[in-house]
C-alpha cells in the first residue's frame, strides 16, 4: 500500500455501487482512496444507512474498529447517529471534502480533466460491444432529416429578392387561405373547437382530421397531393362532422386502402408537408418581410419532412427574432429555404411576425461561445456524411 492512500471499506453497498466508487476513487481521486474488503484494514467506512441491516453492521464495526471514521450515505437529509452525512444523490465535491478532511490530505487539484483523458484507461471497465442490429423499420420520414434533398417539390426555384422591390415581394408570397392548405387548416380549427372528427373535402380529395389523437387519415397518395396543393379551392371546401361510429367506419375503410402506404399521419407532420408543397419556398401573403419573426420553440424536426438548414434557421430564430431575409443572409443560404421554413412553422403556430414586445417570448441568454467554430463544423460535416451514407443504405433496403 502506498503511504498517501487511504483505505475505505463499505457497509450496505452492493456490487454496482462498489464498482462505481472504485471507478470514482481511481479516476477522480487519482488513487488517493482505495476500497478495501476488510473493515480492519480501513481508515474510513462508508455506510449506506438506507439498506436494511446496515445500522446493526455499523454498530458492530464501531465496537470492533473504534478508530475508523464512519460516513453515512442516505436519501434522508441527515442521520440520527450523529455521524458525518452525505445526502444522495451524492455530490462528488462533498464526498471528497469529507474524505479529505478525514484523510488529512491536500485537497485534490486534479479532478478536472478526469474523464476526457481516460480513453485508454478504461480497460478495467467491462468492455462490451453491443450489437447494432436493431429493428430497421423506420417511418417514412425517419432518416431524411439531414442533407438537402430538393427532389421534394418543397422549395421551387425562386431567386433571392430585395425587400425594397415590391414586385419582387409578390413573387415570393402565396395565399394559403385560398388553397387546399387553407381548407385543411380550417378543418383542423373546426375539429379542435368542436372536439369532434371532421372530414374535409376539397378539389375532389377527402381527409379526416381526428383531434382526439391529432391524426389525419386519407387514401390519397402523395403524388396526387403534391399538385393539388398548388390549386385554389375557390371557397368550395366542405366540412363534415363525424360521430364516433362514423369515424371508426371511415378510418377502417381508409386503412384498408392499399393504394397508399401511409394512410395515417400526425397532424403536425401532415400540415408541415402540405404547407411546403403549397408554399414552394414562399411566404404567406400577410407576412411583413421588414418585421422580425419569432420562433416560439423548436419544431419537432425528427418527425417532420426535411428542410435544408432547418436546425440552423431554428437555432438562429430561437436566439432572437429576426427578419427572414436577414436570417438567410446571416446563414448564407437561399431565401426560399428560410421562407419555406417560416411558412411551415407558421402553419404549426410556432412562428409569426413579432409585432409586440411580448412576441419575443424568450429573452436570448448570452452564453460565452467558447467552442471553436472549426471543431463544431467538423462535427457537423461528420454527421452529415454519415447521415447521407445511412440514407442511401436505407434507400437500398427499401428498394429490396
Amino acid at each position: 500500500m502506498k503511504d498517501n492512500t487511504t483505505n475505505i471499506s463499505a457497509i450496505g453497498l452492493n456490487l454496482r455501487s462498489i464498482k462505481t466508487f472504485e471507478f470514482f476513487f481511481k479516476k477522480t481521486c487519482k488513487g488517493r482512496y482505495v476500497l478495501c474488503e476488510s473493515h480492519n484494514d480501513a481508515n474510513i467506512t462508508l455506510v449506506d444507512i438506507d439498506v436494511p441491516g446496515s445500522n446493526n453492521a455499523l454498530k458492530e464495526q464501531q465496537l470492533i474498529n473504534p478508530k475508523n471514521k464512519f460516513v453515512c450515505l442516505s436519501i434522508a437529509d441527515n442521520n440520527k447517529l450523529n455521524l458525518p452525512h452525505i445526502k444522495k444523490p451524492i455530490n462528488s465535491a462533498s464526498l471528497i471534502a469529507i474524505l479529505d478532511s478525514f484523510a488529512k490530505v491536500e485537497p485534490s487539484k486534479e479532478s478536472k480533466d478526469i474523464v476526457a483523458d481516460n480513453t485508454n484507461k478504461t480497460n478495467d471497465l467491462i468492455a462490451r460491444e453491443n450489437s447494432r442490429q436493431f429493428n430497421k423499420n423506420r417511418s417514412a420520414l425517419a432518416g431524411r432529416h439531414i442533407g438537402a434533398n430538393d427532389d421534394t417539390g418543397f422549395f421551387g426555384d425562386n431567386e433571392d429578392i430585395s425587400t425594397k422591390n415590391s414586385k419582387d415581394i409578390t413573387k415570393v408570397t402565396y395565399h394559403p387561405k385560398k388553397m387546399f392548405q387553407g381548407a385543411v387548416i380550417e378543418g383542423y380549427h373546426i375539429a379542435k373547437q368542436n372536439n369532434c372528427a371532421i372530414q374535409v373535402t376539397a378539389l375532389g380529395i377527402s381527409i379526416i382530421i381526428d383531434p382526439s389523437n391529432s391524426k389525419v387519415y386519407t387514401t390519397t397518395p402523395e403524388r396526387i397531393f403534391r399538385p393539388i396543393c398548388l390549386l385554389e379551392t375557390n371557397n368550395k371546401a366542405q366540412f363534415k362532422h363525424l360521430g364516433v361510429e362514423h369515424l371508426k367506419d371511415k378510418v377502417s375503410h381508409f386503412q384498408s386502402n392499399k393504394d397508399t402506404d401511409d394512410n395515417c399521419s400526425d397532424i403536425d407532420t401532415f400540415l408541415w408537408k402540405i404547407t411546403l408543397w403549397s408554399s414552394r419556398g414562399r411566404i404567406p401573403e400577410d407576412t411583413d418581410l421588414s418585421v422580425p419573426v419569432y420562433l416560439a420553440h423548436w419544431p419537432n424536426l425528427t418527425r417532420l419532412d426535411n428542410i435544408p438548414h432547418a436546425p440552423r434557421i431554428a437555432a438562429l430564430l430561437i436566439s432572437a427574432p429576426d427578419t427572414l431575409c436577414h436570417v438567410a443572409e446571416k446563414l448564407q443560404i437561399p431565401q426560399r429555404y428560410v421562407f419555406g421554413f417560416y411558412s411551415a412553422a407558421h402553419t404549426l403556430n410556432l412562428s409569426s411576425n413579432a409585432r409586440r414586445q411580448v412576441d419575443s417570448l424568450f429573452k436570448p441568454v448570452d452564453k460565452p461561445v467558447s467552442q471553436s467554430r472549426s471543431i463544431l463544423r467538423k462535427i457537423f460535416k461528420h454527421i452529415t456524411r454519415k447521415s447521407q451514407a445511412d440514407n442511401s443504405i436505407q434507400k437500398q433496403n427499401n428498394a429490396q
Binding site: 455501487s17 464498482k19 470514482f24 474523464v115 439531414i146 389523437n213 391529432s214 424568450f362 467552442q371 463544423r377
Partner: protein
C-alpha cells in the same frame, strides 16, 4: 491528451436510451459498464449502466469527440458531475413510457442546471412509439414554465438520423453560424 471540450454528455433516467444512443453515434466499439439489472430496474429492462458509457466520433484530422453517458439510476448521481466537467453540451434523453416523464425532465434539468447554464442542451423523447403521451407540446409547456427554450425532438435512440439531429441541434444552439461554408 485530449482537450476537455471535445465531449458530449448523454444523460437521462434509467432505460431512456443513453447507451443505445452512444452506440448509434460511436465510430469505435463503445464501452459500457452495463450489468444485468437487479432490483427495481429489472422490472423495466435487462441491463443497466453502472458507471458510464463511452464512445467516440472520429473526425477529420484525427480529432475525436468523446461521447459520455451517465448512469441512469439516481443513486449513481455522483458520477454526473464527474462526467460534466467541461464539454460541448448535454443531450438529455427522456423515456416517454416511464411513470411521470415530465417529472423526470424537470429532475434532470434541475440536476444539471449549472452545466446547462454554461453550455447547451438538446432533449430527445424516446419510446414515443410505445406511448404517445405526454406529447412534445407538453414538454415544451413544462420547459416554458421554467423559462427554458431548447430543442425537443421525438427520437428513437436506435436511429442514426434521430440521434444526429439532437447533436446538430446542440451544435447550432451553441453557434448557428457553424454550417456556413465560406468563412
Amino acid at each position: 491528451m485530449v482537450s476537455n471540450n471535445l465531449k458530449i454528455i448523454f444523460s437521462g433516467p434509467v432505460g431512456a436510451g443513453k447507451t443505445t444512443a452512444i452506440q448509434t453515434l460511436s465510430d469505435t466499439p463503445p464501452i459500457s459498464t452495463n450489468e444485468s439489472a437487479s432490483d427495481m430496474t429489472k422490472k423495466r429492462k435487462r441491463e443497466t449502466t453502472v458507471a458510464m458509457d463511452y464512445g467516440t466520433m472520429n473526425l477529420d484530422g484525427n480529432e475525436k469527440i468523446h461521447l459520455y453517458g451517465t448512469p441512469g439510476q439516481e443513486r449513481f448521481n455522483f458520477m454526473w458531475d464527474i462526467l460534466t466537467s467541461g464539454g460541448l453540451g448535454l443531450v438529455m434523453l427522456i423515456d416517454n413510457t416511464r411513470k411521470d416523464p415530465i417529472k423526470d425532465l424537470l429532475f434532470f434539468i434541475n440536476s444539471f442546471k449549472d452545466y446547462i447554464d454554461k453550455t447547451a442542451l438538446s432533449i430527445g423523447i424516446t419510446r414515443t412509439d410505445l406511448r404517445s403521451y405526454p406529447r412534445i407540446s407538453n414538454y415544451h409547456q413544462a420547459l416554458k414554465d421554467i423559462n427554458i427554450n431548447v430543442p425537443v425532438f421525438q427520437v428513437d435512440a436506435r436511429e442514426y438520423s434521430d440521434v444526429a439531429m439532437l447533436v446538430q441541434a446542440l451544435l447550432f444552439s451553441i453557434d448557428p453560424g457553424v454550417g456556413t461554408d465560406n468563412e
